[in-house]
Symmetry: D2
Subunit: 308 residues, 4 copies
């Protein structure tokens, strides 16, 4: 059973392969120019900072459903160790093992493939156990700093959080933009709030992941039309889960990452940001969300910060 | 053999215990106010961004000398896996094991202890294998965004990099500030460039670590006098190594982290920043260097970005 | 609240500190002499081999209740990689992260401490993050080969498995020995079957761990009286859990490991062995259960084999 | 450049595909029957045990040359932790990350492939990041207990260790068998001693790996003719390295693992065994070398023990 025509039709419309040259590995992040950054900086008026990462810990959001995607395991290799002899200064060191997509993270463009292809038409076979992603690994992205825009879909609809079967549509995004009196522009990083992360924060890891509101297969066209640089939200799967179209799993991943070459973020905690934007009456801000440059990786934990 | 009087004397002068209350866990980062951030933002005039992290990879800066501090090990748990059946969208997932202090990193305030104490006078015994740092773990630091200042000591002295036995003094810092026509202010994050990271980038991991130029035991007083919020540099050990005073190992760690409660960063790649600041004729910028919030950790990889 | 008199009284009776000298680190394994091994070999009459380890995998017996004790995480670093060029022989390599006590394992004698002491009266402070166990680490045990004896308590009582609140007593052990027509001798390794592992094998990881039948606080005296070299069983906690005496947690660990210096094994799969012994009508066999010599470790996965 | 005719010719002669049925995943281990085990047991006359594993530790045999094959990293997650409250029994727990082929190990039959095939003619594509080896993973091998035979090539030649360019030939194996007055039989596990591990034990990890004596491409026919069940030796690469035939890398791996389906072991410490066999005047013994059953793994650490 090949991918359905409905999907392939959208894929064709949002495709960015070749748009920034054959050699390109970073996709829509090309849209973040120095000028965009200058405008982003201008949004940081109050100096108020809001962190957007969940704590990295053993009882993180992963429930074991995605094989191998393990929550961070923290262990000590030195505790107050006087490496150079007694009566000297002591140090403590730790190590960690984690799934790169296990917590608040960015998917690299290579995280998804379909029909044997990754972003810019390259072969999915360029991902190997030896070295990971040959192209478009997360280490190829030097920085993610731009104007951030919060599209607070839950707040715009007057609810704490969207129900588990709510697929966020382009109309919902327009409504949230209007609610925030903000215009999404080329190079923006859009944060879409569902409120779903509250379920995890309340202790229900399973309920957080499934069922979950998330982006509809119709939203990639909206992001494409607005020339958005990256999108993140506060859910485990990013897109509505289970999916809208029977047996079409992860279509938004394929459209955003493979076709458009647009970075996707998941498990972002947008609760405090919602409050801060509401208090400020402004839904645009400076956003820094730097990938950790793991060589060849298909994802990375990220500790984003919004400056209002 | 107790710590020498010379050390204890400086310790007393730079001590910040109780300055921000008994409950404080973040030390000099308290100096970064909204106003400081507004001033920091004002430095980001051109929109030019400069990343400061080294690649996270198996042949990173660690040479095996520090027990347990391992370079990142990257491995795949999914490669183009069609989790939901054939002919669907596929995903790739990876896991990593790394020493939290192995690459470009921040030391948490708990990374060092002396005489049984950590920052703010707490017992070093509050660090355990079960949960890590009970106080002042890296997850307690919500954000690191401030004005960054590059003190390009190597450039100020007209050399590519400082010799391995050069202990950077307060006078060197003043000279570099003058060279950059910049005044260090309360809440600034100071980046001190030695050029030493070139040794690693040229392929000599052992030569990078030892011998290495670095900060003198006299610098903590300078940082204290200027009310600096954090300091990072481009060496493995931060301070001059081997140390200036025989058998007094890691005194700067003890003074900065334990006594002052000032965040320290190591293995930052300041080469491109040196070029960019030189070209711009400006050595102050907006700096975002967010810790990954590993719960109870005594350090964190960091992917800093300077916006000029 | 110190440890109760009841515990301290047994502790005194079973204590082996100094029995094999002050320098000893292996405890009751000293009882396995060449002669014992020759007798053990004589039990291997049919050549039938029975493996006793559970599969090492992500959905192993750990349910997350014991902090940091993670099931094995398997990941690939090479898949059919032609390291030396195209058209050559290819190889695959994998890495694993696991809790050393997470699966079928031996506890090292250092795994437990009480009142600040480990086996042979050494300070518990000799266990550090830097290097692990200074004494009695699992790597100190060169081999575990001896006569194995299955005490099939469940079979002796005519049940598939013991109920969750059944504390196995010395009388139960005698009954099982009689059932198997076997006499426990000095240097034997005793395997005690409860049948509890069936709960895990049936898919109920939580029910496997709690509540669980296991050894009573009265059994260490029995093991001591018989000069047993090591004991293993088919439960998560080894001893009855929750414990028999309120607020006295893990007393059997303390008596076996700390006081006697007797190796303990957990999560052994004794189901096939029960069948094999029943069919053979013999409950003694040659047992090889070699620790993996992880330096300084307080436990090890083990893949035991019985030869009947 | 395809594999040379010389290789393909040998491959055809030693091929065992289909010999134990299409469904077979364990190859020559089928040769270890109950009868073979009974004969093996009969060799354990004195009860003397000799362990054959190197310590598992951070400064193990890996030097970083094989990407991703990391030495064991040991870290603590509990140190004397009183999980159930103060004044109770305390426990210590550790975790480890290691390359499954990093230390004294068995290669699974899937560890090597050539021309797209693994043992028994299956597709090499059955090895994936998701689940590892679909066939012939190390967990498929329930036990490795048989008669062990030491072919002490170094001792037979009257040298401490073979020179780095010595390719061990069938004639060398015959000479060593004669030296040990032992006849290799069907189902035996043959241990071939070069003495090379002394280089590692003396602290020279690089010299240990390269150049290294090892088995010649001519030996698989000898093993095949004798119906050997498994072979291990005391080198990093098992076969002579660099290889005998230019640009033909790892031919012995391909012949043993892929064509014959014969388990291979590396980094075994045969020094004490050489002494013990010399003292006993007997070079056959009972050998237990149980794989840790890592699910889907292409190798496993092993702690073998010989009983003379």
């Amino acid at each position: 059973m090949p991918l359905p025509a409905e999907f392939l039709d959208i894929a064709e419309r949002v495709n960015n392969w070749g748009r920034w040259g054959e050699a390109d590995e970073i996709g829509t992040l090309n849209l973040v120019t120095d000028e965009v950054v200058r405008e982003a900086v201008a949004e940081a008026r109050s100096g108020r900072r809001v962190p957007l990462a969940l704590a990295l810990k053993a009882d993180g959001v992963q429930s074991g459903l995605i094989p191998g995607r393990v929550n961070p395991l923290h262990a000590m290799v030195q505790i107050n160790q006087q490496l150079f002899g007694p009566d000297t200064v002591a140090t403590s060191d730790d190590v960690v093992t984690l799934g790169l997509q296990s917590a608040t993270h960015w998917d690299a463009l290579t995280h998804a493939s379909h029909s044997g292809r990754i972003y810019n038409g390259r072969s999915a076979g360029t991902i190997t156990a030896h070295g990971g992603a040959g192209f478009s690994g997360i280490d190829k992205i030097p920085y993610v700093v731009s104007r951030g825009v919060l599209l607070d879909v839950a707040a715009a609809k007057g609810v704490d959080r969207l129900p588990g079967d709510h697929a966020i549509t382009p109309e919902d995004l327009d409504e949230a933009a209007e609610f925030g009196r903000v215009t999404v522009r080329a190079g923006d990083i859009v944060l879409v709030r569902t409120g779903q992360v509250q379920v995890y924060l309340a202790g229900d890891r399973h309920g957080y992941g499934y069922p979950s509101p998330g982006l509809s297969v119709r939203t990639p066209q909206w992001f494409h039309a607005h020339d958005v640089a990256a999108v993140a939200n506060d859910t485990l799967t990013f897109e509505i889960f289970p999916p809208e179209i029977e047996n079409l799993w992860l279509p938004v991943h394929a459209l955003d990452l493979v076709e458009m070459g647009m970075l996707q973020g998941q498990n972002w905690n947008l609760e405090s940001l919602s409050t801060a934007c509401g208090e400020a009456g402004r839904y645009a801000f400076l956003l820094a969300a730097m990938p950790e440059p793991f060589e060849g990786a298909t994802g990375t934990p990220v500790a984003p910060v919004a400056v209002l």
